[in-house]
Symmetry: C2
Subunit: 289 residues, 2 copies
């Protein structure tokens, strides 16, 4: 396993700056975001990363597949739009040579990420999960034809209303197992899964289905904007070593991405953030420091 910088950790760096920073700090891989790729242009982004000799450990992100659960024409159109957007994301992942496209599947239909409940949303969480399965049936073959692996990311249940009705690794894995391994895998992100009493059992069960291992800490208490509750490893409550060991034991040999959403870390000097990330990776993430 080697360390990879998910570029949202240093979100004020442009893609060229993140590529340059990764090389300067001796990293071999980088996790990209579609927004940053779009800023730079897809072909240019792919060339920059390739010329720098970096692997693309993941592309973030596709998903938001649940709005089809809204009634009538609105739902049908939302479902079609989501599939189209995800096909674009798959095409981008293919051109970038990304190891996987991360899918954040979406929350309850009609609940917008990070916004208060409006009118006309759906409380049907089971139905939303069915929409995800239906979308996956469309997208997995499309991804497979382009050599892209979709990586289903279970999110912490606090994000179930607005971001992901996939709440546990086991649930994501059950969905993934319906498809060939090269088409659909799962993400193990410590922030989202550390509390799960079935975590170690499900990591072992996932085995080669683990498409991405992402690490960051879980801060306590969470800040008011719970999206920003991700901390540098060692600053929160997670005991990383047993999780890393379990992921290794499951056979994972990919990159370890550090993906942190945190106002203080974004405000800091990105070079210092990367230096700290490397030190903490050695100190608290690797099973044998």
């Amino acid at each position: 396993m080697t360390l990879s910088l998910n570029q949202w950790t240093t979100r004020h760096w442009s893609l060229p700056e993140a590529v340059d920073g990764s090389v300067r700090h001796g990293l071999e891989a980088i996790g990209l975001w579609r927004e940053k790729v779009a800023e730079q242009g897809l072909a240019q982004s792919a060339k920059l990363v390739r010329d720098a000799g970096l692997r693309v450990s993941s592309l973030c992100r596709g998903g938001f597949l649940t709005a089809g659960g809204l009634p009538g024409e609105e739902g049908r159109q939302a479902f079609a739009d989501a599939l189209e957007e995800n096909r674009r994301a798959i095409d981008e992942a293919a051109e970038l040579g990304a190891a996987c496209l991360v899918l954040v599947v979406g929350g309850l239909p009609g609940v917008k990420p990070g916004e208060p409940l409006g009118k006309g949303f759906s409380r049907d969480v089971a139905g939303a999960r069915e929409r995800v399965a239906e979308a996956l049936a469309e997208l997995a073959p499309y991804a497979g034809e382009r050599g892209v692996k979709l990586a289903l990311e279970p999110l912490h249940p606090i994000y179930c209303p607005d971001r992901a009705v996939l709440c546990t690794l086991g649930q994501a894995l059950d969905l993934a197992l319906a498809y060939p391994e090269e088409q659909v895998g799962v993400v193990v992100d410590t922030f989202h899964v550390w509390w799960d009493p079935r975590l170690f059992e499900d990591i072992a069960r996932a085995g080669s289905r683990i498409a991405s291992y992402q690490v960051c800490d879980y801060l306590h208490p969470l800040p008011e904007d719970v999206l920003l509750g991700r901390g540098m490893m060692g600053d929160g409550v997670i005991d990383f070593r047993p999780i890393t060991q379990a992921v290794l034991d499951a056979g994972y040999a990919g990159d370890v991405e550090v993906e942190i959403f945190n106002a203080d870390i974004w405000a800091a000097d990105p070079d210092e953030v990367v230096a700290t990330m490397k030190a903490r990776y050695e100190d608290v993430v690797l099973p044998h420091p």
Copy 2:
């Protein structure tokens, strides 16, 4: 199933006021809190409830059993203190004739509820769960001898750091099944479990182990103090009817407690709160309104 007022929903009412309010609104049961019972005195509280003809649907709460995970003498003493405190809670539940004593088992050792992380806490969530099992082995027979049923309450994973390392109904149930049914059951609280992809499977599996069914809504977004994110039924994201139906199908025939921690509801006229609670129970909680 009949409706019960958990007295924390009207927390500015004293115990006599809550008993009087429950009777005035035609309720048959009440959920009590130890703090409120202590204010009034145990014997007097028991007499008030009995004379009013109310069932005590639960006593909240025992638990906080994990501090024994701290090292050395501090841990040993904390474990002994927790057992002693829980034996007192069991004695109180017996005297009140409560249908169960709710256990909120505690979070990571050394993390104080609602407080920032201090020094010297433990990240060993697996170890904390073992401490809970050890404590239960001590407390279940003690409860059994006094005719008290312990009700293990899984809390939403957001409370895992500081309040409950029991995060899912399935996990609570697995612990409970090691003991006779009259000694240990589980709580199904909609706020804590609505997101769980295994919820309906685990409610069915729980069957007669369901010792308490508590309802309140899950607000989105949660307020800054996440403890206060509980809302009146209908104000949040939970689809209650299928959950209530599943609890009924599992054979539960006890009371349905409404337990809401919410600053606005606490500031409102308690009589209006109880009236709204009754209306919403009919409108959105019962499977067939």
